[in-house]
Assembly symmetry: C2
Homo-oligomer: 416 residues x 2
């Protein structure tokens, strides 16, 4: 049920930021970036509330959520409770409303920044439909899923230095590629630029080196979730990824939503992972629902055109939850840190319109998409804009993440 | 030629830390960790020299070299010049010797820490003998080198959170493995624990997102080099690494030497990469010698035994230099940051005693090593100690890195 707020715009059933949500991010409006929440069509300055002693001291004047996240679940809940008291449509908060109002900014007027300093970024491959699609294209339907796929959430370490916030333009990458019929590789702009629709789990609490964590412990360590676009250069990937995995094909950019939606806000939308096709070993078994029912989509705007929705899917299609991924990530004793970001892997549903990458939607470029404005696309062209969107649908309210979008700039020229 | 110092122990031709070296690290002696150099059998507190205005202000009171490294090549050279003036066997520095002496500590009395905060860790696979050995074992001699190997320095992103300084005990990792004849995988302690003898290049100057750097620019960005042991769990690796590369098999620990030896100290030892078997594309071609002649070795001490040298090799055997690796790393537009660590890949020479991992030295465990004390080893057992050592040999002096060692603790017990 919607929790009503005295900020009227938050009570619109279509608003992604009702009082039920209270996501965390970082904003600025001319001055230094600082922490914020979103409520209705406003951004609320948490540093101002902290300075006015309306919230517990959590380092909200920092330009990143890391300090707050490191404080752990009790602090997270105390701040959520405090904000709920301050913003509820409730006579008890009449006295503080003037101070809260002074800390509100029109969302349209502020700049949103990367919400946290990404310690390390790991990307998984935990959607069965995606792995099956890609495996079928590359290895044929009989060998689509690798032998380990049903036993561990396969992942690889990505690059944290190029995780950017929604709205950041993305430069088309250069790279080495080799056409199947070419004798030698060549170096130049990526010709098969793609997206991957993912969710990102944000680690709040660290775990020490040498200490695996259980799936339950992992779930407790997660602060919240973002939308995540794992931009991918398919032609660079094809040439480089054997034997040690994706490297430059994924290193040039990863875009996340500006708002981290907390586990508390997503609690009503928990759901179980799909039935196991093979039993998991004990260290990866979950004991309660740890996936979420989150409706996800992608819209593509070809240069000069209008947006078309090219994918509609749901986070619940994943085979492994973020908690299972985090448990696997720590299983060797790998230390996890506040600010670690875990990409879910591409979230493709069983139907074609539910596929979360152009590679799958156009089946390797063989079946071009026709957009609503009549333009066609196999992969992304310069000037195109791709946007992920997502929300959990409650009764009379929704919990959203904000946009996760980027536009493609032409590649730099290669020196002859 | 040896540069004589008034600190007599630095003038011993076997000493790894003559005035020619001046490596950088972080030490403590009861108080807060701060930056230091090594000279003879002493550690010199750079924070004290900075406070006494004997060195330019470079943030040496920080517990990591990152601030100093970010200042760039002019600051690096100014500090090196300043230290050389202060420590040379030269009457001109008589007046400052008392203050310098007050900042000296016996190396045996202090604790050495991780010398810099590792931003991200990338590991390459750039030794041709190693790639050929491993490829032969896994895929047969005809397919030993992947098709891309002679065209790009293959690398994968590793885990920065578990890079530790020499002397840190390493907990044997747990993980999922599957024996070739088993129907299902199982979870338990690694049975094939290994080392990889590598050099690590430390990035001093950053490069922006979207901007590839040339090999020359990459060489200029590198602050210095460390010894690096890329501990590896071969059985976990075999089960997990297809299709996205090593993950938990390498995530539990990477050990580096406490001292970062600067490019300036290694300048006399520059050498060319081996002749190209296939021409490199222009973006990866080097214009001058960017590899180094550094003698490297590994000693193994089986539990309760005496050390045996099990490998002697040289960094010059690498096919790609760190500058070429860094140029490749940025080729897609991947931003590089101060504190990024690039592992060279295992440095194996052409002869068997030059192989830089137990996997190669025992040929997959089939040919156990007999140590000097009569013990035999296929892989590392609990209580064993592995130490890398390395130095560049000049005329009458050597430039060393300090030790890079770790002992193995038994795995944690797995809950039934």
């Amino acid at each position: 049920m919607l929790k009503p707020s005295w900020i009227a715009s938050a009570n619109d059933p279509q608003c992604p930021f009702p009082l039920n949500n209270l996501p965390f991010g970082v904003f600025s409006n001319g001055g230094a970036p600082r922490c914020a929440t979103a409520i209705g069509d406003k951004v609320l300055d948490l540093a101002a509330l902290e300075a006015a002693n309306l919230l517990p001291a959590c380092g909200f004047d920092e330009p990143a959520l890391n300090g707050f996240m490191a404080k752990g679940p009790e602090a997270w809940q105390a701040v959520r409770d405090g904000l709920t008291r301050l913003l509820a449509d409730d006579a008890a908060n009449q006295d503080s409303r003037a101070m809260v109002t002074a800390a509100l900014h029109d969302a349209a007027e502020v700049q949103l920044h990367l919400p946290f300093q990404v310690s390390e970024y790991t990307d998984f491959y935990a959607g069965k439909q995606h792995a099956t699609n890609v495996g079928t294209m590359f290895r044929g339907p009989e060998n689509a899923l690798p032998p380990n796929w049903l036993h561990i959430p396969i992942g690889y370490n990505g690059r944290a230095s190029t995780v950017v916030v929604s709205g950041t333009d993305i430069r088309r990458p250069l790279g080495q590629t080799k056409a199947p019929d070419a004798a030698l590789p060549s170096f130049g702009p990526c010709q098969r630029l793609d997206i991957e629709l993912e969710m990102g789990a944000v680690v709040g609490l660290p775990s020490p080196m040498g200490q695996p964590v259980s799936v339950d412990e992992a779930d407790a360590m997660i602060f919240g979730y973002v939308l995540l676009n794992d931009w991918s250069a398919r032609d660079i990937q094809a040439w480089e990824y054997q034997p040690l995995g994706p490297f430059q094909a994924k290193a040039f950019a990863t875009t996340i939503s500006p708002w981290v939606v907390t586990k508390a806000a997503l609690e009503p939308f928990r759901c179980a992972t799909p039935e196991r096709e093979k039993p998991l070993l004990p260290h990866l078994q979950d004991t309660s629902p740890m996936l979420y029912d989150i409706e996800l989509g992608v819209s593509m705007t070809a240069k000069g055109g209008a947006p078309s929705v090219i994918c509609q899917t749901n986070y619940r299609h994943m085979y492994y939850s973020a908690a299972q991924q985090l448990a696997h990530h720590s299983s060797s004793g790998c230390a996890m840190r506040t600010g670690d970001l875990l990409g879910s892997g591409t979230i493709s549903g069983p139907e074609k319109h539910q596929f979360g990458s152009l590679l799958e939607l156009t089946w390797g470029g063989k079946e071009p998409l026709t957009l609503d404005d009549g333009q066609t696309r196999r992969f992304i062209e310069d000037g195109d804009t791709l946007a992920l969107h997502g929300h959990a649908q409650g009764e009379g309210y929704r919990v959203g993440f904000g946009s996760c979008k980027g536009s493609i700039l032409p590649a730099l020229e290669v020196e002859a």
